[in-house]
Amino acid sequence: MEEGSNKGWIWGIVVLLVVVLGGWWVLGQKTPGASADTIKIGFIGALTGDAADYGEPQKNVLVLAAKDINDHGGIAGKQVEIIYEDAKCKGPDGANAASKLVNVDKVQVILGGSCSGETLAAVPVAEAGKVAIITGSATSPALINKSPYFFRDYPNDSSQGVVLADQAYTKEGWKKVAVIQEQTDYALGIFQAFEARYKQLGGTIVKEEFASNISDFRSVLAKLKADKPDAVLVSVQTAASAQRIFDQMQKLGWKPKLMLNDVTIGDPATLTKFKDFLEGDIGANFNLNDTPKFVALRDAYKAAYGKDMGYPTYSTAVYDSLYLIKEAIEAVGYDGTKIAAWGRSSVKNWEGASGSITIGPDGERQSGDSIFQVKNGTAVLVQ
């Protein structure tokens, strides 16, 4: 083995490293989270991948909100700057993103994540850094009281599962339900809440799970079909998954009564595409009354981006979260511990675009999901 050529390689690598690391260290010297005239707020969300369907609108509304706040004097006189990190709806990336925001950008508060998985991973990191974290979109019950630094302004899934179970058993009279559930924390959380309540009421469940990368559901669906359930609960992570399932149900010639989770019934594109197939089916979602703030946001979004705001429920809650944080900072200062404490104690009947928000001492938004029904391609509230 030639010593000479080996040495050459080593030197090459050392030089490369020094250049890369050095340049990057220089670039990486960031000022702490609050300088003389800016306040930095972190955002963690699913900006790429299937979940970008709800992550990207969240970033978009925050851009609008930040501009709006800055045009009106900013937060406590300082301009707000949001640092967007992509966690791709994955746990390890969520932890990574949080680590960067907490340690490099030195933010005192993080908005996010979009998905429960990335949030579950980010929360311990935020807590260790004494940074507050508020989500308007991650709904897993596993996050409840996970940390005093965590709070959310969107109802968690324990309500969604319960509401669906009540509707199924008591109102619709379905005694046996089949469940097709994607293997993600969020979809699993909804199922667990549903199962607990539904079995308590006396119903029976047959379930099939699938990994997110599976796209062939035929035999699984055939199996559920043979069990002759009264209805089928479709608990998926993204509307794209649901669409594949509907498509294959159609091809199997099977049209059972369906129950949808909020990610599906909240996606107008899916409802339009499968208008006839989904007619009359029910789903649970957070009820956005058309508050004036919401209508204004909706129109502003359309004007700015040329398309309808995706997932208005999550997006609006995320929009509200920035304003909540603004108020928090103006009340208690730019300090993670104080902001978190404020979030858990001082948010009572706060009027946001997503309605009246009250957050309990457990950090959870106190209101639940409602039942909607698909009529002619749109979701209509069932009173």
């Binding site: 099939e208 799970e209 699938f210 062939d216 043979a226 498509d247 091809k251």
Partner: protein, 288 residues
């Protein structure tokens, strides 16, 4: 008994797609003698070409499919000339070729993802009810029947060409022993190139079929390829008919497994079958 018929039909549909994959893969393997993992990415190339032509540009169906297959064929041929041929010329080991093929797979997938995003897409333009047929209580759609027909036609065509035509005999000669074939006067390089072209075209068709049946994603290549490889091994690697048989066996086991155990174990079951065959019958069902 409806469910059993449906499961069997599902197996037939999946088997048709796997058999297309195995056919192309076997063709390449029997002549080039290495595991061309890059082949997997060509399924995505075929699928996405049709996506671009049929859905984005709005061209008619049949020309889009034909052009998509040609795209896949050209890319497969190009890769074989640029990457595999120099490696084989210097007698690189199979492992090196496998790793290079892995690199090819990664590059092509990444390229597709950059051009088309990593979102899942379907090829069919219409969501409305497709023509379905009910056979003994099980349901099959028109698209699936067409895929099945395509698979059978290609299998027969390939078998006939390989056995009875001069080109086919040349291919088999190269597959048997490349050096001797060259000595006898066969242009092995041209044959090899042709094999990669045709094999990749078939792979592209497999990707297109999957696109119409369930949908396409840039990362679909590796999973589909592995299924194709498993089918080829079950049936007897390098054997054209074997690949088809292996494909249906694999599809059957997968779907029966999904029915009897649970859908989530489908992939694990497929690989378990692979390992069992590698252990106890590596030559496959039809292997010599």
């Amino acid at each position: 008994m409806d469910i059993v018929v449906q499961i069997l039909l599902n197996a037939v549909i999946a088997g048709a797609i796997y058999s297309l994959l195995a056919l192309g893969f076997n063709l390449i393997y029997s002549t080039a003698r290495f595991f061309d993992l890059g082949y997997g990415a060509l399924t995505a190339v075929g699928g996405y070409s049709v996506f671009f032509l049929y859905k984005i540009l709005g061209l008619p169906l049949i020309p889009s499919i034909i052009f998509g297959m040609i795209m896949a064929g050209i890319l497969g041929w190009g890769v074989s000339e640029l990457v595999y041929r120099p490696l084989r010329a210097r007698k690189a080991s199979n492992t090196v070729l496998l790793v290079a093929a892995l690199g090819v797979l990664t590059v092509i997938q990444a390229g597709i993802a950059i051009l088309f995003t990593s979102q899942f897409q379907t090829l069919s333009r219409y969501v409305a009810e497709q023509q379905t047929y009910t056979i003994l209580g099980g349901v099959i759609t028109q698209t699936q029947v067409l895929i099945l027909a395509a698979g059978l036609i290609i299998m027969v065509l390939l078998g006939v060409v390989l056995k009875y035509t001069r080109v086919g005999k040349a291919v088999r000669a190269v597959a048997d022993d490349e050096e001797v074939a060259t000595i006898v006067g066969i242009n092995a390089q041209r044959i090899m190139g042709g094999v990669f072209f045709v094999g990749s075209m078939i792979g592209g068709l497999a990707g297109i079929s999957v696109g119409f049946d369930t949908g396409i994603q840039p990362t679909m290549g590796l999973a589909l390829l592995l299924k194709g490889v498993i089918a080829a091994i079950i049936g007897g690697i390098g054997n054209v008919w074997g690949g088809v048989i292996g494909a249906f066996v694999l599809a059957l086991v997968e779907n029966l497994g999904a029915w009897q155990f649970s859908g989530e174990w489908k992939d694990a079951i497929a690989f378990l079958v692979l390992i069992l065959f590698l252990l106890f019958r590596p030559k496959g069902i039809l292997g010599k």
